[in-house]
Symmetry: C2
Subunit: 349 residues, 2 copies
């Protein structure tokens, strides 16, 4: 399932590839080394890709640390997301051509490298007329947000949804996709010193209502629901009390989808909400979703097309980001692990 | 939605109906009175029913106490379940004839009475060749068990399910229906002094595995899963720790359906079970299920037919019960509220 890598132990005069390799799990700054990599010629179904840009996501860091639900065989190249340009294809490859931009549809491909060899089935084409950073950050967070809004409740213009961690990468995309569809968003955020600027920023993205977690317990919610219907869908990335409070406002028969657990606390639901309010709970993991569609790409390609369209039309903006040359990866890792920084750290190859 | 009742304030020489009436909510023994009732002639869509037998369920008692999710207009006749024989029908009634046995398909009909007038749509025919007590106790617990096993996961012979409160009325029917379908049941019960006789009794009903709640946390579970696959479906009537422990054994992608909350504690799920094990949670309430099908009786009649067949073939036994003449209702109520008695109290009219 995981592409093996071959480390070059001896120096070569012409080295086409370098990558951030870890031979054991641990803190990224301690275990990641920038190493030379051998990139073999493509087999029949392989695609050689020159990586253009790759972000550092929290799940990438967890994977290096060894705490993620999916772990590669070691040694491995870090990074699960990014965009590259096809350099060379195998004889039987039909879905992409040299010059095409591609993004991964499987996790664990190791995108923190200048060049890699991938199986055709683990890549999908992305239009090359959208910004590099937009394409490099498309396959995890925007895909998650898209599926959360598509797969659980039939949402029509005027319907509303509620989400916590609304300032997360996924949360910001949820706001933008929902706004483009005329769906009202109720966005829960943690209280903080610069709350008003955060609220303004989310409103600028298209958020209808931005509230802090303690407001969920207050009579202000009644006033809010005079302005919009109760949400049919709740998106949960937190867990614990925040989630239980959010659930209370869900409409009869609504669904709460959990896609993260930032609070590191379980989800607690009153029995009466299940029986008498008929709420449903489930989870979403974009990696599994894509794996389940390894042999049928229709939904994947439609999603990439829709998201690229939104980017092109300015309805989905590229996340605030800082770009780093690959050799400065240590600084990039440090900033990626700094809380409340709210900027995506991107490695440029 | 609720049929009004008319109390006879003046004595009549010929009184055809008596019923257990409460004019305010409270403890059944304090608020229920055996009173004379007027039963008007049927309107075009009405059915006059002579009640044969009606059980006392926990939800009936909660309704009298005023703590249930559905409450009737007062004064009301108690009881939500039972079987009766059609005495007279209105001009436009087509689904039943005089002499037919009928059971309620809506809650709140007030079955603790000798005779009542009901709308055709609130009744469904039941075969009269099954035992009276079987018919009188068909519409709540067996219907719940049937739907729990039918509506959430596609279960095939050899598949397994897990349930807690396995000794409850619903639990016992789950065991029997599952056994008739070749589905393996893992039945969790609370530890008690007469555990071995309970285990034997559930095995006699067709239970494959009977375990106490503390075993859920023990390595014995590993041994158990060498004998049967992990359950695709978990049926929860408890809440709290019991439920979280049960959930841990659910198969990837499985569903936990909550239909009761005996422990009066919420359901707690680890975030990872939702995201990485893809478990789904929902609730079931038979009253709402039937109301949602008020205009399409196909599923209801199929279910009644299937359950009656099981009773007729001896695959679904009538619950252990004690029958009481209506005038002894006070003793029946007392026994119905006695914990661990494990007998259904039935009023015979």
């Amino acid at each position: 399932m995981w592409p093996g890598i071959r480390l070059l132990r001896r120096p070569l005069s012409t080295l086409s590839a370098r990558g951030l390799v870890y031979e054991k799990h641990g803190e990224p700054l301690q275990v990641l080394r920038l190493q030379n990599l051998e990139v073999p010629s493509p087999g029949d179904y392989d695609v050689r890709v020159k990586i253009l840009a790759a972000p550092i996501n929290p799940s990438d860091i967890n994977m290096v640390q060894g705490t993620y639900a999916l772990l590669p065989e070691l040694p491995a190249v870090g990074g699960n997301e990014g965009v590259g340009v096809v350099a060379e294809i195998g004889n039987h490859v039909t879905s992409v051509r040299p010059g095409d931009w591609v993004i991964p549809v499987d996790a664990g491909l190791g995108t923190w490298r200048t060049e890699g060899l991938y199986n055709e089935s683990s890549l999908v084409r992305v239009p090359s007329d959208i910004p590099v950073v937009g394409a490099a950050t498309l396959s995890v967070n925007p895909c998650t947000a898209y599926r959360l809004l598509s797969d659980y409740e039939t949402l029509r213009p005027g319907d509303s949804i509620i989400q916590n961690a609304s300032n997360s990468s996924v949360g910001q995309v949820v706001i933008q996709i929902a706004a483009s569809l005329g769906i009202t968003t109720i966005n829960v955020v943690r209280d903080r010193s610069d709350l008003s600027s955060l609220v303004q920023r989310l409103h600028d993205l298209g958020a209808d209502h931005v509230i802090t977690e303690d407001v969920l317990r207050k009579p202000e919610m009644k006033e809010l629901f005079k302005k919009c219907p109760r949400p049919k869908l709740a998106l949960n990335c937190v867990g614990g009390k925040s989630t239980t409070e959010m659930l209370r406002h869900l409409d009869y028969g609504g669904t709460m989808v959990t896609y993260g657990g930032m609070a590191k606390q379980p989800v607690t639901i009153p029995v009466s909400a299940l029986i008498f309010k008929n709420v449903k709970l489930c989870g979403f993991w974009v990696t599994q979703w894509k794996r389940d569609r390894a042999h049928n790409r229709e939904e994947v390609t439609k999603m990439i097309r829709d998201l690229s369209d939104l980017i092109r039309r300015g309805k989905l903006v590229t996340p605030p980001s800082t770009e780093w040359p690959l050799q400065d990866f240590a600084k990039a890792m440090r900033d990626a692990q700094t809380p409340f920084l709210s900027r995506k750290q991107i490695l440029i190859m």
